[in-house]
Amino acid sequence: MNKNLPKWVDLGLIPLLTLALAFAVSGLVVLSIGQDPIEVVTVMVNGALCNPATNSSCFSGIGHTLYFTTNFIFTGLAVAVAFHARLFNIGGEGQAGIAGVGVALVMLSYDWPHWSIALVVGTLAAMAFGAAWAAIPAYLQAKRGSHIVITTIMFNLIATAIIGYLLVGPMQAEGSLPESPSFPDAAALPTMHDMFGWFGLAFDKNAPANISFVLAIIAAVGVWVLIWKTRLGYEMRAFGHSEKAAVYAGISPLKITMIAMLLSGALSGLMAVNTVQGEAERLLLGSVEGAGFIGIAVALMGRSHPVGVVLAAFLFGILTQGGAELQFALGIPAEMITVIQALIIMFTGSLENLVRIPLEKVFIRAGKGATS
């Protein structure tokens, strides 16, 4: 596939060009609703990164962007890990949702004395519940051949129903709102404001970004080590390329399918540490907010590589936060930002050859004679 192209073109230039194309088409869409694309971009970038015009701290925008980025890193890594074993985990939404239930259960079950312990326990609970929610589709795929795309989608719906039931029933706090009681104060995770404070630096006090971002970066490094440095990752990649080859090598398809999906579910689940434990500090309805699906786009755009996933997650973080600003500042409907996201997904995911094939021709022509 990338035989004819240098690595920097394959991994750098092509994504950038497809992105540019997506933005160009988005610009036309913006024009069509009578807005100025330049102004839209300015509002989005200022809103998502840093807005010197507003009086409040410059870190408000980035604090929100990083919060969303954290979610997308987790869900993007989840899709990427499964994808290396050629499993398409569409169930990030449900896995993250159920992980939220797990986090809420352990947070409410004990009066945790310190945030560090709460972080460890919350992380473990999120991973365990996310993995458990992925386990059944994984087993059905490996043993019965039930297509994982179908089963994970169904499990998203089941998860939504379960969470809805819990929040108006057993886990509901006093009052009429569908939400759980708040977690103990001591269990609250450090926000970016707190963390910057440790080093005497300033950060917006109200931004939701928290220590989970660090967890996400650690997870990305962990996934990189797993996929490219361990024998398990080697087996997953072999299985992903050819199941027949895997069986020939004595690798059990059942084992790899289960492990890949459990890891994927655990990674999706980690998102709950950010949203439920770090930000809301209680379980709310719809706390996943589509991040599970955006993870698919993130993994696709990031080529299932952790570095790519982190970068793509940041891009989608900017879009999400910038989109909110757009609505606030210019009254552009939030659906507009969904259109732009869809364009990016379409261009990076399925229209990549628009850019790739002409580039390959250019490079073959240029490279003729130089290298064979």
Binding site: T230, Y234, E235, R237, A238, S242, K244, A245, G250, I364
Partner: protein, 523 residues
């Protein structure tokens, strides 16, 4: 390159059926065809030989309109012709029988013949016309096939006839056959050649692409040799020999015979007893197969593809499970239930060079150093600190294996798909042989491998035998079985149809066994 006319003693006044002039075609940086000129006389059988990747198929695909040449021209019957797609080719009277048949399995023979050549809105008239035409063709060319049989119910030999009928039904005057005998028994191949000679008698022109030099000698009037995209030689078949052709293909003298001493057979390593396999559809693939394998021998399993050889390899290598029977390794039973896996076999000293190198033997996007440990990757020598893989050792190990097995280029970082078929096979062989197994299972060791590499691979197999290892060789190439084996088993329909010693048998007898006939039963 000069144009060589291979007019097999015919009148010069008749325009040649095919005339290619200066055909060139590049795929990216790869020049698949370089300035190729070729002339095929009307009513001749013309062979094209060459190694994999020499450009034979590209050339024929240009003639059939699958690819468009970058430069050059084509004349059919002396008329300049532009062929942009297969419709143009058919209109010009060219028919092609592909290596992998293009038939609809759940259609009848008749429906397949008509497919794409239907006339009118309803099928009835076309089918009636085709039925009449098929009968005529069958009488004329020994091309009998039951027009109402479903494709999935007839043998590959008959399926191939359907492909030929399809072409003839479309009024083909020129027939191109790509590796036509790859899936046929020797008997079926003989029948095919009779058909081709009949067609020739009727003035049809035939181009046959093959890598089997013996077939070229048997059936063609003239032959062209291709090497690295160029046509190196075109010659009348009667004035050449297999050795000369091989040399022209490879560019150096090639040993076609395998150089080996008599086997020094030792004690039995593996016993197969009453092995049976029933697949998921309830079809018996392997029926009560029993044999023994001894140290220091090469046991060859001959047979047409699809007669249970693959299942036999899968069960012994641990990829598939047996329904019943047992396998003893050094007198000890091994687990052949679905719970076992290929890794357990490797631990018992059974290594496996699989038939399908692309899907099984190698992970194509993996680098060579990842592939040379594949299947053995859990061995302690490959594990490093903190449970991570010891990539430094894996690379060094790969480099050593590549050097010992003459893999070119010897670069461990290269991805498997970058290598030629022969070098890919050497990578698999290096991995399995260097593991020093007691038993080596080899399926189709030289499928898709160039002649130069075949010589090397055969020598490695013989060396392993001489080192006292037991080798089970499965191949659909009868020549290969005869050249390498110390003992031959023939499989037909999941059964061992007979056992022969290579020195006491011949191709005719083996061919009958491969077709399910026991010559001794009748005599």
């Amino acid at each position: 390159m000069s144009e060589t006319t291979t007019n097999a003693g015919r009148l010069d006044a008749v325009a040649p059926a095919i005339e290619l002039n200066g055909i060139s075609k590049a795929f990216g940086p790869v020049q698949a065809n370089k300035d190729i000129s070729m002339t095929v006389a009307k009513g001749a059988i013309h062979g094209i030989v060459g190694e994999n990747g020499a450009g034979k198929s590209t050339l024929m695909s240009i003639l059939y309109g699958f690819y468009k040449a970058d430069s050059g021209s084509i004349k059919i019957d002396g008329v300049p012709t532009t062929i942009n797609d297969s419709h143009d080719a058919i209109a010009a009277g060219i028919g092609m029988v592909h290596q992998h048949f293009m038939l609809v399995d759940n259609f009848t023979v008749l429906e397949n013949v008509v497919l794409g050549a239907e006339e009118g809105a309803t099928l009835g008239p076309s089918l009636r016309k085709a039925r009449k035409e098929l009968k005529r063709l069958a009488d004329e060319y020994e091309l009998d096939v039951n027009p109402d049989a479903l494709i999935e119910d007839i043998s590959v030999g008959f399926q191939q006839r359907v492909e030929i009928l399809k072409a003839l039904y479309r009024q083909a005057e020129i027939l191109i056959l790509d590796e036509p005998t790859g899936v046929l028994t020797p008997d079926e191949a003989d029948h095919l050649f009779r058909i081709l000679r009949n067609l020739k008698e009727q003035g049809k022109t035939i181009v046959i692409i093959t890598h089997k030099l013996r077939e070229i000698m048997d059936v063609t009037d003239s032959v062209s040799v291709m090497r690295r995209g160029e046509m190196t030689k075109t010659i009348a078949t009667s004035t050449t020999s297999p050795e000369d052709l091989a040399e022209a293909m490879v560019g150096r003298r090639v040993l076609l015979e395998v150089d080996k001493k008599p086997a020094e057979v030792g004690e039995t390593v593996m016993q197969i007893k009453g092995l049976s396999v029933t697949d998921v559809h309830g079809v018996k693939r392997l029926k009560d197969v029993s044999f023994e394998l001894k140290r220091g021998e090469i046991l060859g399993i001959a047979g047409v593809a699809g007669n249970g050889q693959s299942e036999l390899l899968e069960v012994i290598s641990g990829i598939g499970a047996a329904t019943s029977g047992e396998i003893l390794m050094n007198g000890e039973a091994i687990d052949i239930s679905p719970k076992a896996n290929a890794g357990m076999r490797r631990e018992r000293g059974i290594s496996h060079v699989p038939e399908d190198r692309h899907q099984r033997g190698l992970v194509m996007p993996f680098m060579t150093w990842e592939n040379t440990a594949f299947g053995y990757h859990n061995e302690p020598k490959y594990s490093g600190k903190f449970g991570l893989a010891n990539q430094k050792y894996m690379k060094q190990d790969a480099r050593e294996k590549m050097e010992r097995f003459d893999v070119r280029p010897p670069i461990p970082q290269l991805v498997a798909s970058h290598f030629s078929g022969g070098n890919q096979q050497k990578i698999v062989l290096a991995r399995e042989i260097e593991h020093n197994p007691d038993v080596l299972l080899i399926g189709q060791p030289t499928r898709g491998v160039d002649i130069g590499a075949i010589e090397f691979i055969h020598q490695q197999i013989v060396n392993l035998r001489d080192a006292g290892k037991a080798i089970l060789l499965v191949s659909v190439e009868l020549d290969e079985i005869q050249a390498l084996s110390d003992r031959i088993l023939v499989m037909f329909d999941g059964v061992i149809q007979g056992e022969r010693l290579p020195e006491n048998t011949n191709e005719g007898e083996l061919g009958l066994l491969m077709a399910g006939v026991d010559p001794e039963a009748n005599s």
